[in-house]
């Protein structure tokens, strides 16, 4: 049986609404193709000897400011392991707080600066006014395997991220990296770092399959995936595109 190994970092701490649902979606879509998704966990202040580079996916969800402060030290302690995994082509899937913490730094709404892992050039600063947040439904157009793909999610972030070299996509509705920005998130072939909750993969089966096939490709396995019964997802997408994109 084929297996994909996913390392879920800080599942107990970075666990805002529904973000762990991304793991559930991946698990479901793998299982339907006879692939086993093995989930490993890296917990705060619980040292482990997991070889990050031996994973297929590293996943980080979003958290509140307080929680991001709590785990800053532990995350810095993992810097070399995450970097090694990135260099080895492990897929990095990062949501909200996870996205911010891979950059240079995150300055939270209390003015406290949390150093990031510095993997990428961008940095994030939150407004000192806690009420000043980008909140709402969002649709982003990205490119998967050379084809345009619309990604639906929900954003809820105070942080404004700038100096993003290669954004995840173009904003069709919502805010994105900053207030009313044209772009959202950061991406490379094997990195998706984004503000989108929802959870991200729940209404974007094409994106979930992209992550899975990139993992298989790296393993040297055939990366073609059998289509699934995505009737509910397709109808959901049509309904939401109609509602969110056709506004006058």
């Amino acid at each position: 049986m084929k297996t994909i190994k996913l390392l879920h970092m800080y599942p107990n701490v970075l666990d805002l609404y529904g973000d762990s649902g991304n793991v559930e979606v991946l698990k479901y879509r793998c299982a339907q193709r006879g692939i086993e998704l093995q989930v490993f966990q890296h917990l705060m202040d619980k040292p482990d000897d997991i070889d990050f580079a031996s994973m297929d996916i590293i996943y980080l969800g979003g958290g509140a400011d307080y929680e991001q402060q709590l785990l800053a030290d532990d995350l810095m302690g993992c810097k070399d392991r995450v970097k090694a995994a990135y260099d080895a082509g492990v897929f990095l899937l990062m949501i909200c707080g996870g996205y911010q913490l891979l950059g240079q730094y995150y300055k939270d709404s209390n003015g406290e600066e949390i150093p990031g892992l510095g993997l990428f050039t961008y940095h994030t600063e939150a407004s000192r006014n806690k009420r000043n947040r980008c909140i709402g439904n969002i649709v982003v157009e990205t490119e998967l395997m050379g084809e345009p793909y619309k990604v639906i999610g929900f954003e809820n972030h105070g942080g404004q991220t700038t100096d993003v070299a290669t954004p995840f996509g173009k904003v069709l509705c919502g805010n994105g990296n900053c207030w009313s920005s044209e772009t959202e998130g950061y991406c490379e072939e094997r990195v998706i770092a984004t503000y989108l909750h929802g959870p991200l993969l729940s209404k974007n089966p094409g994106l979930a399959d992209y992550v899975i096939s990139k993992c298989l490709e790296r393993q040297g396995e055939p990366s073609e995936l059998a289509p699934l019964n995505d009737k509910l997802e397709q109808e959901c997408r049509e309904m939401l595109f109609g509602r969110l994109l056709n506004k006058q």
Binding site: N12, D15, L16, Y17, G18, D19, S20, G21, E24, V25, Y28, A31, A64, Y66, K130, I135, G136, N137, F154, N156, H197, G198, P199, S202, K203, N229, K231, L232, E233, E235, C236, M239
Partner: protein, 454 residues
């Protein structure tokens, strides 16, 4: 009397009258208008009777209804009849809603004639309301994550209530098994009137956290809390290995839970209840403790526990022919998980109706449904989903491993009501905040159209 208060009441009363003439219910509007002119307008009311308030994320409306029914059974002081209790049973629980309600009951001097005020109060409005009105007893039920996009983080909300409690000296009735609530017992070290309630470990308790929970760390020293058991979500017997936080002996504990006969014991006496959901038992424990503080006759408590049902979409039963549907409100993952616990306890085959809206009052973000635990879904033969986010909940249930061919999506509520009653049998219904009343109405319409009584 300050002249400004006189005009506040005069103007407010005028608005209530005009709205009534226009055939409209006052709602929040008069309070909202007065608040716009003067943020401290609640000070214009003169209230001499005890105010008992209930707050917390889940269970406010039910608990307030129970307390209202119990207090309303008390004989009046002159013995001529029953006491007068004023309550906001309809869930109008913001400062503007409470202000509007008081306008209806007060005289031209702002005096509110009543023996008790029993109020449901939104967590974030506790400080603003009770800096202006004299509070005698505050019941705090629980703090869960709830509509994060509207309410912000749970911690912010708890700190807001804590700030108020630092100078509060009235009765404080706290859930001993919710670390988010129990921590408030020391907000004012000088307050001697802090009382805790609890429910004994029940058969559905788990040794690991089964549903998304909040408050994993000790609020005093930051250590990870350890649990003997979890009753549901993060409610359970917890303690901090670092500083001892959580070592509480509750004053009242519901014991000897007898699910077969819908009965339990408190302080050695046996009570029966209409429902035995674990979260409902916590509400009843809080109600009992409040009644105890006011020396209310046990006979009244027995009678109300055994006969009263809130309905209004809170564990409300709908029947048609050989079918019955139990509908329950779920505003957040914990609420939905509670209904799923009841569904899974039921050994029969059943169908589930799930209605999900994403209106402003619900919170626009529906990702909370991914924190609902569908991993156990005993004997569910079919699912019908409805509401403005009918597809989202369908996808969520599908990805838990449920056969998508057994899910029917019907965003229109009347279609969904007809569909759920298509086959005779046992049914459960879950609807979120703005979905609950339209769902009740659609179910009633369908049942009546088939000659049933709703």
């Amino acid at each position: 009397m300050k002249i400004i208060y006189f005009f506040t009441i005069l103007f407010g009363k005028l608005m209530v009258k005009l709205l009534k003439l226009a055939g409209r219910d006052a709602g929040n509007l008069p309070g909202l208008v007065l608040w716009t002119f003067n943020h401290n307008y609640l000070k214009a009311f003169k209230i001499d009777c005890p105010i008992i308030a209930v707050t917390g994320t889940n269970g406010k409306t039910s608990t307030t209804n129970f307390l209202n029914r119990i207090f309303a059974e008390l004989p009046s002081k002159d013995g001529s009849g029953k006491v007068k209790v004023i309550t906001n049973m309809q869930g109008n629980n913001l400062d503007t809603g409470i202000g509007s309600m008081l306008l209806k009951y007060c005289d031209m001097k702002g005096r509110v004639e009543a023996d008790y005020l029993v109020l449901e109060v939104d967590e974030s409005h506790v400080p603003v309301i009770f800096r202006q009105l004299p509070l005698e007893t505050l019941v705090i039920l629980n703090f869960f994550r709830d509509q994060l996009d509207r309410n912000g983080e749970v911690e912010t909300l708890i700190l807001k209530v804590k700030g108020f409690l630092e100078t509060y000296e009235g009765n404080l009735i706290l859930n001993a098994d919710d670390p988010n609530v129990a921590r408030l017992g020391t907000a004012n070290p000088n307050n001697k009137k802090v009382h805790y309630y609890s429910v004994e470990k029940y058969e559905g308790a788990t040794s690991e956290l089964y549903e998304a929970g909040e408050g994993r760390f000790c609020p005093t020293c930051g250590e990870t809390l350890v649990y003997d058991y979890y009753q549901y979500s993060h409610i359970g017997r917890f303690r901090c290995p670092g500083c001892g936080f959580g070592e509480i002996t509750p004053e009242v504990q519901i014991k000897a839970l007898d699910f077969e006969h819908s009965a339990f014991e408190i302080e050695g006496e046996r009570y029966t209840a209409k429902h035995m959901g674990i979260y409902h038992l916590y509400n009843l424990s809080a109600v009992y403790l409040a009644a105890k503080l006011y020396n209310i006759d046990h006979g009244i408590v027995h009678r109300i526990f055994e006969s009263f049902e809130v309905n209004n979409g809170r564990l409300e039963q709908f029947t048609l022919g050989g079918s019955s549907l139990l509908l329950n409100l779920a505003k957040n993952p914990v609420g939905a998980n509670m209904t799923l616990r009841l569904l899974n306890q039921d050994k029969r085959e059943k169908e589930l109706l799930f209605v999900l809206n994403d209106n402003v009052a619900d919170g626009l973000d529906v990702s909370w449904i991914w924190d609902i635990n569908f991993s156990i879904f005993n004997g569910v033969t079919r699912v019908v989903t409805s509401g403005t986010r009918a597809y989202d909940i369908a996808i969520r249930i599908k990805c838990s491993g449920y056969d998508p061919d057994k899910i029917t999506v019907l965003p229109d509520l009347d279609d969904a009501a007809a569909e759920i009653f298509r086959h005779e049998g046992v049914k459960y219904g879950i609807a979120n905040y703005t979905a609950i009343q339209p769902t009740r109405a659609a179910l009633k319409r369908y049942i009546e159209s088939k000659g049933g009584k709703a």
